[in-house]
Subunit: 336 residues, 2 copies
């Protein structure tokens, strides 16, 4: 056990072969005679040889590493994506450089620069703005990019995203099957794409059911938090708004149920509530909430798969955009 690091050469010397042969047993074992292989492996073991990826990266111009750029790691939605990506990458022996942009474009830019300098083979990115051109520097050095949780023109790049319109659709379609009149949506700002899409889906569901979409009662909240949900729930109870309620995330839904309870309205008896996200919070209210589940893990896995495919295919590669369909997770909050 020595701490020195003489590289292939030392191994080659000990095994009585050339460095090329050592390199071959490591990377293209089929080209080396079994006997030689064994000798080399023994030498590697003997010397505790650890291949130097930096040298390989320099030589090959690309590194067995990929970047993952997300806006926030504490958010369980992104955490789930990170989990999936890291696992898929690990399976293929890729390192994952995690970058958290915190919604700061300058920081995001620095991350791209860094990944470019590392000669990362590619990057999975949840961009904080729609300005895809900022990603050009990564492109330049041959890195490949996949947009995650964002749909991007197939001329630009591969992307994976979740169909939020469909999510809103199935949520409200489900509500419409429950006895009652009218539907209310508790939504965040419509400037957020996801919020707008979920709303569009809700209206679509109404239309399909032969109901005027404008009859949808809309409650917009500034922050999509439990607190805002509570306030919304109270307002719904007080104003006699519809008792079939679609909340565009789970926190809002949990809050709404509380707000309703404050006014003596019990879910699901007096009202039906659907949330969105199906995030694993530590409480069991979430376990009672009917919600729209997103295939986060699958999205992460496919993102990695797309990236690796793009690397493999080279110039022949055709970008593709995959959209995942969310699914309804039916639980107590709508069981009447």
């Amino acid at each position: 056990m020595n701490g020195q690091d003489l590289g292939l050469a030392a191994v080659a010397r000990l095994a009585g072969v050339s460095t090329a042969t050592v390199s071959n047993v490591l990377n293209r074992p089929h080209l080396v005679a079994p006997a030689t292989q064994e000798r080399v492996l023994a030498a590697i073991d003997e010397l505790d040889f650890v291949p130097n990826r930096a040298a390989a990266a320099l030589r090959k111009g690309t590194n067995r590493m990929l970047g993952l750029v997300i806006p926030d790691i504490v958010n369980p939605f992104y955490a789930a994506i990170v989990d999936a990506v890291v696992e898929a990458a690990d399976r293929e022996r890729y390192a994952v450089a995690l970058c958290v942009s915190h919604e700061d474009p300058a920081r995001e830019q620095r991350h791209f620069d860094m990944l470019a300098e590392q000669r990362a083979a590619g990057a999975l990115v949840v961009p904080i703005t729609a300005d895809w051109s900022r990603l050009s520097q990564l492109r330049m050095v041959g890195a490949h990019l996949i947009a995650v949780d964002r749909r991007v023109d197939e001329a630009e790049a591969c992307s994976v995203a979740i169909d939020d319109v469909h999510g809103g659709d199935i949520a409200v379609t489900h509500l419409l099957a429950i006895a009652g009149e009218g539907v209310v949506i508790v939504n965040g700002s419509r400037t957020i794409v996801q919020c707008e899409d979920r709303r569009a889906g809700a209206r679509l569901a109404l239309s399909r059911a032969g109901i005027e979409p404008d009859s949808l009662v809309e409650l917009e909240v500034a922050e999509m938090t439990v607190e805002a949900g509570i306030a919304a729930g109270r307002r719904i109870a007080e104003t006699g708004a519809p008792r079939r309620i679609f909340c565009t995330n789970d926190q809002l839904a949990i809050g709404v149920m509380r707000g309703l309870a404050d006014s003596g309205l019990i879910v699901p008896d007096d009202a039906a509530v659907v949330g969105y996200g199906d995030l694993a919070f530590g409480n069991d209210e979430a376990r009672r909430l009917t919600t729209v589940g997103q295939p986060k893990h699958e999205m992460g896995e496919v993102a990695v798969a797309k990236l690796l495919a793009e690397l493999r295919e080279g110039a022949a590669h055709q970008h593709s955009a995959t959209t995942f369909q969310p699914h309804l997770v039916i639980r107590e909050s709508t069981s009447r």
Copy 2:
């Protein structure tokens, strides 16, 4: 804007200087005359030159990258640590290679191998076993290791950890100041170090108050979940156990409050409950829960600081173990 990558040499040629000078303006600008610097920077800009870290890493034998090995990323406790680490590393222009061991030693080993091959400058690791010797391979290639959330002998390595004994102590000391008789602890398996430590702290608090530690009523649960907490809460209500309750994590505490409520016992009027962790769940029950807060962010930051210090100091470095003191976050669940 070309996609080619001719390196320092191209920049040097365009700026009419040598490669060494270009390298200097990048890494030691103070050694270069301002005028020259400007010319070089202009050339860099002109060619969209992106330095190649792999080459630098090869040359220097170490990479501006550090590994972060954790058991689980979906767990908000680790997510918070990742957040802190990534931010601190980013500030120093270090890339962070995230590895998730999923409690699998073989996988953890692969991660270490990979980090060694990448010639990561160091790694922060939450080891899944106490077998510190397995980390020797990383050591060998000059990587430096910091143990996170684990206390390690200072002869071995630097470490950062949280004093769970103290956490149990302050939790129960707080409970003892509330009117009532006896204390019950709802705890996970004592084979888990954290659980055992929190219990020890609880007993310590009793002793200090002149109470026989064995009077502590102990409820052990198999899984530290909300469900288990509910069951425990019911049991407490039924058996007339003490109404001053210390739960060794927040999920248990939330469950206990529910279980008590099922039997008509209202917190804080009929019982006082303290949790542990102060994790940001999406519900506001957590916002009402008195709990033991852990300085997760600080721990992550200090871990990075220790690593960078170790890198800077070289052979002169003395390992150190820092223990963070948790603090009580007093909220409604104990306000009587």
